[in-house]
C-alpha cells in the first residue's frame, strides 16, 4: 500500500506552534514514522536535501544572521550548543604575578584577565597553535609549554603623578599617568616560530582595546606575564568563541478577521515597527459578503508586512477589540540563527566548523560502536 500523502496545507498547519495569551500549543515535532497513520515520515536524505534551505541575511566577520529552514530542533540545538561550548579558542589561562600593588587581589585580577577576548592571525590561532597538555607527573611545571601551544603576553605598568597637572587637580586622567589600565596595555611577546606567523597586523591582541582591567594610584604597579592557551567553552566560558550564538523560531501573525481604522493603528502599535502596515480596503473586498469589509471601502486595514521583526510580545492578545481576530504562532522548523564571533574566527566559518564537529563526533562513536566488545 502506498503511503498516504498529506496535503501541503495540512503539512504547513502541522509546522505551526500556537501561541496564546497564557499557553503554547503543538510544541513537539510529530514528523516521525507511526505518528500519523499511513504516512511515511522515515528519514530520507533526498527529501531532506530538497526541503532544507539556508537563507543568509548578514555575514560579517564578527556577526552572521541566517535562517535554517526544514531542520529539527534537536539538530539545530546541537549546532548551537557546539558553537558555544565545543569550538576551541585561545584565552589567558595562567598569570605569573611578579608584582601587584594595586587594590585588586591577585586572584581577582587573574580571573578578569582570563575573560578578556583575544584575536590574532586566524591561520595562526586555528591551525598553527596546538593544544597544550599537562606535564607528566614528576616533570617540572611549564615543561610542555612551547611556541606551538602557548601565547605569551605581558603587562608591566606603574602609575605616576603628572608633574604638569594643575595643583589640586582631582581628575585622575589629568593628575596621574597610567591611572587606568586597559586591555590595550597588554603586550604580545611572540617567540620562536610565532614571530613569522603572528607578525605586525596578525599579532595577538585583545579584541576590545578599552576593557578596564584595573585602576591604579601613584606608586602602585602591576607587573605580570600571562600564558594564553587553547581550550573549549565546556571547560570555561572564557574559551567560548561566540558571544553569543542563539536562535529563535520565525514568528507568524495571521489576521483572521478585518482590523480597521483606529483599531488598525492601535494594532500596529502592539508590535515593533515595521511588522504591521496599512492598506485601504478595496472595492472587491467591500463587495464580498460576510468578509467583514462590507461598507468599509477605502478604510485603513491592518496587514502583516514582516513577521520576522516581531518579538512575539503577545501584546495584541491583551486587548478586547482584537479577540478572535488574530492568531500568533511560530514556525517549528524555521530557525533564525544569530552567531556573533568574539574575534578569533569568522562567524560563518564558525558555523561550518560546528557542523564539522558534529559529524566528527558521530564518526568517532561509529568507530567505537564497531570496536565494541561483544
Amino acid at each position: 500500500m502506498a503511503p498516504i500523502q498529506a496535503s501541503q496545507a495540512e503539512l504547513d498547519r502541522r509546522k505551526i506552534v500556537g501561541i496564546n495569551a497564557e499557553i503554547v500549543t503543538d510544541v513537539t515535532s510529530t514528523d516521525f514514522p507511526g505518528h500519523w497513520p499511513g504516512e511515511d515520515h522515515s528519514w530520507d536524505i533526498e527529501k531532506f536535501k530538497k526541503n532544507f534551505q539556508v537563507k543568509m541575511y548578514k555575514n560579517d566577520k564578527i556577526e552572521a544572521n541566517f535562517s535554517l529552514v526544514g531542520i529539527d530542533a534537536a539538530v539545530a540545538n546541537a549546532l548551537r550548543r557546539i558553537l558555544i561550548s565545543e569550538i576551541p579558542s585561545v584565552a589567558i589561562e595562567r598569570v605569573f604575578i611578579y608584582n601587584n600593588s594595586s587594590v585588586i587581589q591577585d586572584e581577582v585580577l587573574a580571573a578578569r584577565l582570563g575573560l578578556i577576548p583575544l584575536k590574532g592571525s586566524k591561520a595562526g590561532i586555528i591551525d598553527f597553535l596546538k593544544w597544550w597538555t599537562k606535564p607528566a607527573e614528576g616533570e617540572p611545571e611549564g615543561s610542555t609549554s612551547n611556541d606551538l601551544n602557548t601565547i605569551r603576553l605581558k603587562l608591566n605598568v606603574g602609575c605616576t603623578r603628572n608633574k604638569d597637572a594643575a595643583p589640586g587637580e582631582t581628575d585622575p586622567f589629568k593628575a596621574y599617568h597610567n591611572a587606568h589600565i586597559y586591555a590595550k596595555d597588554i603586550e604580545f611577546v611572540p617567540f620562536g616560530h610565532q614571530v613569522e606567523i603572528f607578525g605586525s597586523e596578525h599579532a595577538v591582541v585583545p579584541t576590545n582595546p578599552n576593557i578596564l582591567i584595573a585602576k591604579l594610584r601613584p606608586g602602585q604597579c602591576i607587573d605580570i606575564e600571562m600564558d594564553a592557551i587553547k581550550g573549549v567553552g565546556r571547560d570555561h566560558a572564557k574559551y567560548s568563541p561566540v558571544a553569543p550564538a542563539s536562535y529563535r523560531l520565525l514568528p507568524t501573525i495571521t489576521i483572521t478577521q478585518p482590523i480597521l481604522g483606529t483599531d488598525a493603528e492601535k494594532f500596529a502599535r502592539c508590535f515593533p515597527q515595521g511588522v504591521i502596515g496599512f492598506e485601504p480596503v478595496t472595492k472587491k473586498e467591500a463587495k464580498q459578503k460576510g468578509s467583514g469589509y462590507v461598507g468599509h471601502e477605502g478604510e485603513k486595514k491592518a496587514v502583516v508586512l514582516d513577521a520576522m521583526k516581531d518579538t512575539v510580545s503577545r501584546e495584541c492578545l491583551r486587548h478586547e477589540e482584537f479577540q478572535g481576530k488574530v492568531k500568533l504562532g511560530r514556525v517549528r522548523d524555521h530557525f533564525i540563527f544569530s552567531v556573533e564571533s568574539v574575534g578569533q574566527w569568522d562567524s560563518d566559518v564558525l558555523f561550518v566548523e560546528a557542523v564539522k564537529s558534529l559529524k566528527s563526533k558521530c564518526e568517532a562513536l561509529r568507530q567505537n560502536l564497531r570496536n565494541m566488545p561483544e
Partner: protein
C-alpha cells in the same frame, strides 16, 4: 626584553627573563600540519566510549556513551526515531555530575538495536554534509550578490 628573532626552532630562546616561566620551542617532530593529536576532536577517537548496558537483548538495548551530553543525545534520538524499524528511542543523562549519556533503543523484528544506532550515526553524518554544503552555497551566493 626582545624575543629572539630566530627562525630555527632549536635556536629560539624563551622570551622570559624570569626563570619560572622560561619556555623553549617545540621539537621539530611535533610540527605536522594542521592535525592536532591533543585536540578534543582527535582524542575522541582514542578511547572506547560506548558500551551496552546489562539486561539488553538484540532488539532492545541501552547504550552508555561517555563524555557525551544533550548535544549528541537529542540529535541522535531524533534521527533514530526517524527510522521506521525503531519502535522506541529515548535518551537520558542519568546524573548531571557524571559525563554520561544513555540511549535506549527498541526495534521491531528484522533489525537490531546496534544496527539502528549505526544507521542513526550514518544518517546524522549525511545530514551534516547537506547542512554544510547548503550553508556554504548560501554564504557564497550572499557574498557575490553583495559584491555586484
Amino acid at each position: 626584553m626582545a624575543p629572539a628573532k630566530s627562525t630555527k626552532a632549536t635556536e629560539a630562546t624563551a622570551p622570559a627573563e624570569k626563570a619560572d616561566t622560561a619556555m623553549t620551542d617545540a621539537p621539530p617532530d611535533v610540527r605536522r600540519g594542521s592535525f592536532d593529536e591533543n585536540s578534543p576532536r582527535a582524542l575522541a577517537f582514542e578511547k572506547q566510549r560506548v558500551r551496552v548496558l546489562p539486561g539488553s537483548s538484540a532488539t532492545a538495548a541501552s547504550f552508555e556513551f561517555q563524555e557525551e551530553d544533550h548535544t549528541l543525545g537529542n540529535a541522535l534520538r531524533y534521527i533514530i526515531m526517524k527510522n521506521p524499524e525503531v519502535e522506541f528511542c529515548g535518551y537520558s543523562i542519568p546524573h548531571p555530575s557524571e559525563e554520561l549519556m544513555n540511549i535506549r533503543i527498541q526495534t521491531y523484528e528484522g533489525t537490531t538495536a546496534t544496527e539502528a544506532l549505526e544507521k542513526g550515526l550514518n544518517d546524522l553524518m549525511d545530514l551534516c554534509d547537506v547542512v554544510s554544503d547548503k550553508f556554504m552555497t548560501a554564504a557564497e551566493q550572499f557574498a557575490s550578490k553583495n559584491q555586484s
